[in-house]
Amino acid sequence: MDSLLLSKNDLPKFMTELIKKNKVFAPVESNGTIIYEQITKPSEMNLDFCKSEYPPKALILNQTETLFKFTPGTKAKIESVDIDEKKIIFGIRPCDAKSIAILEHAFKGDYKDPYFLKKRENTVLVGLSCTKPEINCFCTSFDDTPASSKYLDILLTDIGDNYYVEVTNDKGKLLTKSMSQLFKPAKDSDIKKKKEVEKKAVDIISRHQKTNGIADKLDKIFEHPFWKDIAFKCVGCGTCTYLCPTCHCFDIQDESTLTKGARVRVWDTCMNPEYTLHASGYNPRPARTNRVRNRIYHKYNYYPKNFDVIACVGCGRCIDLCPVNIDIIDVVTRAGEVKP
């Protein structure tokens, strides 16, 4: 790992260079909320935020993705689509970066998903440490911090006049080397400063989830009436899953006109009863209880069983935006406490 320094005054220069050669996506303020959009000049960015409402996973697992094109009907022909786009995501938070690493588990394996994996491969994640976590942030519950560089190619941390720059792999090195005149080597004092910034951010986080042994505990309480208690207030709006950075479920549908068409993949949510409805009318998850439980289990039991990692990064989006205050910190903590 390389430790470098980038003067804050040089950030625009750095960004301009990046934009010259690459598609750069960065946090932009639009209608009062932050979203990750392609920028054409550094001044469009807004770095004074905690997290975007719409997760940046959408840049890799697009909400609408064309799988391939075809001529519809009974005399069909198929045409592949190009997925070679290269891009840089600048200013992604460590939690969101971790979510992409978590998603990767689902998309590799026996059947490799070319759309996700190719985009993942072609994307450089330039992160920005989070210095002001909000009330529902709980990334520290998963042994991570708001300034962890583990899942990023490059991580910038604001340490006053400079950014402390951690370059974790070759992907990142390629970028910093091409602009080596902008970077200075970091001193021990800078590392200390970063640690301080990190500690300060960690201290702000005041909500914690007890995740110790949660997967095993969930094994024992599947039929517990506790789930009905939790799920009864759910209105099934699906916001939690749409905005969750680790939710990967999707629907595949054909769209066509008379002469052309495409098979399209779109995000879907397990909170909708239609999600599991069979054509025969039978629904294995007919009630809210089934659906809410499935969401929690998918994150805290199935995912750990299949991939050895909890599918939650503690970003708190689902808590922020749930219209009826179903609070995953509270749900999981309480699930750990109920008697089987």
Binding site: T33, Q253, V264, V266, V324, D327, I329
Partner: protein, 327 residues
Amino acid sequence: MVDNNQLREAVKKTISRDDVKYVVGYEKGTYGFQTTPCFAYKPEDADKFIFSPLCVHNLSVFPMLEEKPPLRKGEEPDKRKIGVVVKGCDSRAIVQILQEKGLDRDKVVIIGIPCTGVVDPKKLEKMFPGHIKNVEVKDDDDKFAVTVDGKTQKIQKSELIPDKCKTCEYPTPILYDILIGKEIKSNKNEDYKKVNEFEKKSLKDKWEYWEKQFDKCIRCYACRNACPLCYCKECMVDQLNPQWVRRSVNISENTAWNLLRAFHLAGRCIGCGQCERSCPMDIPLMELNKKIEKEIREMFEYEAGVNAEEKPLLAMFKPDDPEEFIL
């Protein structure tokens, strides 16, 4: 100001009845200023019930969310009633559902609360950000008393209430079995100021504004699912054959969805604001709903959710309905 003890007594009394399955009301949420729907199955459960200006949810959605699992042989359907705690605006949703025969009157017990306005959670969070514990909001005449960490601040209601409360004409529930406290008469008037203001814009400016808003939409359908009046068994956007609205997210499908959602609530929307509150992308859905509400008031002298005996707006007509637009 609602007396919580009086509310709890009423809930206790209701849930003690044999013919009541559960009562849905409000309790304190898990963090900050949040409140959350809560369910009482036995009299003790009533002790956690509260009502405060933080109780923004429209609970009349819950009777409509009841799942009706297929009955086994010889099994009797559960015919018990559901108790619902409602504010003035929420009660209109129930009235509207009754009018459409979506629900039987004898399936609900309505516990009415005369409401003097709730807070807009987004405005409150902006004014007092980042508080997790020890917060409270109380009603204090024309002010809200906001307590944070022991310090109480009085804030003019107009600064914190959502737009719907500013022009609320029905603070007291229209229909109720039990009323907590005294009836309140409204001296407010819906003047559709925002709508009138927006109408003056040119078509181009209007579309520019809405294009931006619809572009944000992620089509999670939270607006639909949270709405007490969106209770169709199969929503038109979930229909596959024919598929009217495609699932891909782009301005065309987003506009179609948002227009159709608004239209399907024409003469039915009672203005509770649940859709806008649930929207994760902050699309001002109520502006569309209010526009339609204004038009049907002007064109058909009709108001949704005030009279359960009336026929639904679009299922009836008057021979002299406006028709100047017809060739």
